[in-house]
């Protein structure tokens, strides 16, 4: 064959890197070292003697930990190979991780945080030496206050769920401060609100009441009316919900809560579709949180560190975790003298690298830019919905004919009925094309679910490619179902057996556990 080269076919011919690496313990090579440690100076040795020999009885470890012994280059090579076996939002069209707002985390923000002025800063340094970072966080708080419409913001938490925990902890402290701690024992949420709302409320000691939507998939205000009362501490809801449906009656929900003396807590983990469009406080919420690592463009880091923002009304401000940053003239200080504060929610002052990234992300966009983010994300979502609904066998239950905000929970139920192929199997096969999706949280209220959220970061061409892959896999499900059932074929590893993961006798959670259980080591 010779030039010119034929056009590329419709589907990308993908194969993920496959290195077939052993588990790192198998790479041990006794005597090898990866990095050497600074040695005790002779001056110190002379002064203190053999500190290990001098340890109190029983305090000296009998034999060194059985870590692998490896040359630096081999450690590096191993992990570089593993990294190539991981997809990453930078590498793929990552719209399939719905509810997670997989947007572009700009590389410049990663570069900015790498300065020694941040990396090597200690939290107990003199305030005068940390004015840069304090000022930056203070400004980020103010920006998030404007974005939420709230009075004050705290950035101490390290993720969305712990931020939701912080919401309910503040609410609990509020009711306690009002002498209603014992009376208010229930929290109301909805099934399409993120599970962490239910789970954190439970962890905080509340009984959780979960409401189901009306036939159209909208949150059911009558259901709320039926359960609310003086025993209610708070409603804790996501909006738009995981379905991408915005609750048009949200003000009424908040008013109902307030009418019985409960507070209203807003899970804004994914505010991406409504930035600059509508604000938590304007709907009357007392408290809300953002996932900095979703809406505000910090990387998801294989599952953290993320970062959470808690935004509260003036009434709840005294309960914020401490310390808070104050500004006097040009000087920023830390104020820990806050008697009503719920105290610490994490060490020190939050996930600093992510806070600086988020600050930088907002500063690059400004008010108009944030609104453009939302509008683009929503347009992308509705465009993708149109493409997905063109695939025979796919549907978007609820609110038929209406638009969605930033994401959609779809269903392959029709295709499943026809072919027996599940949503999970389709997702696995999609990975053969370099694509990924996740189904949804349990329970699968929407049958055979999958949840897509395109965000603002992807172009039409990429959304088209994504939809085309799902269409192709759906076609395969009908025409060559074995290919789908035995997938993946172009991946690092093949179909995985889950048999052993739930059986305490057989699970292998660490290498040493595996060795002991299966090799008697």
């Amino acid at each position: 064959m010779s030039l010119p080269i034929a056009p590329k076919p419709a589907q990308r011919r993908f194969h993920q890197a496959r290195w077939d690496e052993p588990i790192i313990f198998e790479l041990t090579n006794p005597g090898e070292r990866g990095v050497l440690v600074s040695q005790v100076e002779s001056g110190i040795r002379d002064a203190v003697g053999d500190v290990l020999a001098d340890l109190p009885a029983g305090m000296r470890r009998a034999s060194p930990p059985a870590l692998p012994e490896m040359a630096q280059m081999r450690v590096l090579r191993h992990y570089l190979r593993l990294s190539q076996e991981n997809l990453g939002a930078d590498l793929n069209v990552d719209v399939g991780q719905g509810t997670c707002t997989m947007k572009y985390a700009p590389k410049v923000n990663d570069a900015l945080i790498r300065t020694t002025k941040l990396v090597d800063l200690h939290p107990m340094q003199n305030e005068a030496d940390v004015q840069g970072v304090l000022g930056l966080i203070w400004n980020l708080e103010r920006m998030l206050a404007e974005i939420s419409g709230m009075h004050s913001v705290s950035l101490h938490t390290s993720g969305g769920s712990t931020a939701i925990w912080t919401n309910i902890s503040m609410i609990r402290a509020f009711h306690e401060a009002n002498g209603e701690g014992d009376q208010r024992t229930e929290v109301v949420t909805t099934i399409f609100s993120h599970p962490s709302n239910a789970a954190t409320a439970k962890a905080a000691g509340y009984k959780v009441i979960t409401l189901y939507p009306d036939a159209d998939g909208y949150p059911d205000v009558e259901a709320l009316r039926a359960v609310i009362g003086p025993q209610t501490a708070a409603i804790m809801i996501t909006n738009p919900e995981d379905t991408g449906i915005f609750n048009p009656g949200v003000t009424e929900w908040v008013s109902l809560a307030h009418s019985v003396g409960a507070l209203a807590s807003y899970d804004q983990a994914n505010a991406n579709g409504i930035l600059g469009i509508t604000r938590a406080r304007d709907a009357g919420f007392d408290v809300c949180h953002f996932n900095i690592h979703k809406t505000f463009g910090t990387p998801h880091a294989c599952g953290g560190p993320g970062s959470g923002a808690n935004a509260v009304s003036e009434q709840l401000e005294p309960f914020l975790p401490g310390p808070v940053i104050t500004k006097n003239g040009d000087h920023f200080a830390l104020d820990s003298d806050r008697p009503n504060s719920i105290g610490k929610v994490a060490p020190f002052y939050g996930v600093i690298p992510n806070l600086v990234r988020a600050y930088s992300w907002i500063m690059a966009l400004g008010g108009e830019g944030l609104r453009a983010v939302a509008e683009t994300a929503v347009l992308n979502n509705n465009y993708l919905m149109k493409k997905i609904l063109e695939i025979p066998g796919a549907s978007a239950p609820y609110a038929t004919g209406r638009r969605r905000i930033e994401q959609v929970r779809y269903s392959w139920e029709e295709l499943f009925q026809e072919t027996g192929i599940t949503s999970e199997e389709i997702g696995v096969r999609a990975s053969d094309f370099g694509m990924h999706y996740w189904t949804s949280h349990h329970p699968y209220i929407v049958p055979q679910p999958f949840t897509l959220e395109p965000t603002e970061s992807y172009s039409m061409a990429e959304l088209d490619e994504y939809a085309a892959v799902l269409a192709e896999v759906a076609r395969e499900a009908r025409e060559t179902p074995e290919i789908v059932r035995t997938a993946p074929h172009n991946q690092t590893v093949h179909h995985i057996h889950h048999d052993d993961l739930d059986d305490p006798e057989r699970w292998a959670i660490t290498w040493r556990g595996y060795q002991r259980k299966y090799f008697g080591a």
Partner: protein, 443 residues
């Protein structure tokens, strides 16, 4: 695209949002810096107002530590594939699963325990959860706190556990547990005995075995909060009877980041009573269709709030996975020998610093415990309070420690602190306190 979806404008998509809720003005935010170079200039300018510990000589610890981070650690966790991944399946994200399984396994070796979680947020959360696990396992409310714990940690833990647990603090003696007093408190309502080692003053607890035996005698669980940095050479708590070991991994390959890079570990023995109470994800080995392929998956997923909402154990969410990968790379680089040497280096330098500072006129060590990395000096006999010492050392670019009392200073020494650094500190404190007491003790 609007046309493709039959929309007139993006307004159409917001039809469900009532007009009353619409923000009909632009958000009031600073003018954007849309050119990357302008953004860089601005953010760099702000950060340049900071003075980093590399520009000073720092003896600050108190929960965040200045340990060396090998370059390979940063190289790995800054790989786009890891940095920007999230929650892919064990197919397209095989690498993440393997890296975290390895993290669990490497930590397990360091701690001599068989089950370690995918990291939770930080050591505070790990401890709060570990105690809560003890409460759930025993069905009891009592927690006896045996050690000096960071006040911030107590604050966090207490707010977290108070629906389910009551903390009782037993003052330490000479820096470590007051064993008799503790034993006297244990009973049928004791869920957990909580030891911190090193304590928040750096004191290493040497009575874990006694405390474990006493706890077990009443059916309680021994929870040890710890920093794993010393276990290359120190006996890990599991060998002394600990049931749950928890703490922070910041010391294992993470930079200081102004206190913004913590991750929490929880380790237990491979006992389903314990494992099933862990809220975090646990990645386990699994076979695949192809012989010799290592597959991975979630162990006992039904423990989690992902599977069971409020019926799961506490909750699981985005926590600190990347830091776990970092700690894994760190441990693989250090190896057994590296961790052993590290512990020795830190121990030796701590001891040396104690000796030098304790020998200064008017300066005493707060206790006689074994210390790793941190210890408190008492300046009262110098007549100069600790804040004044800190102020006097400021122009010398030395941060001598954290003020933990009017005359008490918590000094932190790591493998990054050389003999020369310690000598400089000693001389500086000597001069700073010399105004009041002019005589050095005899050596």
């Amino acid at each position: 695209m609007l046309a493709a979806v039959g929309a007139g404008s993006t307004e159409d998509f917001y039809a469900d949002i009532p007009a009353s809720l619409r923000l009909n003005r632009p958000l009031d935010l600073p003018a954007p810096l849309v050119a990357e170079q302008d953004l860089v200039r601005h953010v760099e300018g702000e950060l340049n107002h900071n003075v980093s510990t590399k520009e000073r000589l720092s003896f600050l610890g108190f929960g965040t530590y200045n340990h060396f981070v090998p370059a390979v650690v940063d190289e790995v966790i800054n790989r786009s594939e890891f940095l920007t991944a999230y929650a892919g399946e064990p197919y397209e994200d095989h690498g993440r699963f393997q890296a975290l399984f390895q993290y669990q396994s490497l930590m397990a070796e360091l701690l001599n325990m068989e089950v370690v979680n995918v990291p939770t947020y930080d050591g505070f959360q790990a401890t709060a959860t570990a105690l809560s696990m003890a409460g759930r396992i025993t069905g009891r409310r009592g927690v006896v706190v045996c050690s000096d714990v960071l006040p911030d940690k107590v604050s966090r833990v207490d707010d977290f556990v108070r629906p389910n647990l009551d903390l009782t603090f037993v003052p330490t003696i000479d820096g470590t547990a007051h064993v008799e007093a503790i034993i006297a408190l244990l009973g049928a309502d004791t869920a957990a005995v909580w030891v911190e080692t090193p304590s928040c003053t750096g004191a290493v607890e040497t009575a874990i075995r006694q405390l474990a035996d006493a706890a077990h005698a009443v059916g309680a669980i021994l929870v040890v909060g710890t920093d794993p940095i010393g276990y290359g050479a120190l006996t890990p708590p599991a060998d002394q009877g600990a049931d749950i070991v928890c703490g922070d991994i910041q010391a294992l390959g993470l930079h200081q980041w102004f206190g913004g890079a913590h991750g929490g570990f929880i380790a237990v023995h491979d006992d389903p009573r314990f494992v099933m109470e862990m809220p975090s994800r646990l990645f386990g080995l699994a076979s695949t269709d192809v012989a010799g392929e290592y597959g991975f998956g979630d162990v006992a997923y039904d423990r989690t709030s992902f599977a069971l909402r409020e019926e799961g154990k506490e909750w699981v969410g985005t926590a600190a996975a990347l830091w776990g990968i970092a700690a894994g790379v760190y441990l693989a680089l250090m190896g057994p020998q590296g961790m052993a040497e590290l512990a020795e280096t830190i121990l030796a330098r701590t001891t040396y610093a104690q000796a030098r500072l304790g020998a200064l006129a008017g300066v005493t060590l707060n206790d006689n415990a074994l210390h790793l990395r941190e210890f408190v000096i008492d300046l009262s006999a110098t007549g100069v309070d600790s804040r004044t010492v800190v102020d006097r050392l400021r122009p010398l670019a030395i941060d001598p420690g954290v003020v933990v009392g009017e005359y008490e200073l918590l000094v932190c020494v790591t493998e990054m602190t050389t003999q020369h650094d310690i000598d400089r500190l000693t001389d500086a404190i000597a001069s700073a306190t010399a105004s009041s007491t002019t005589q050095e003790k005899s050596a």
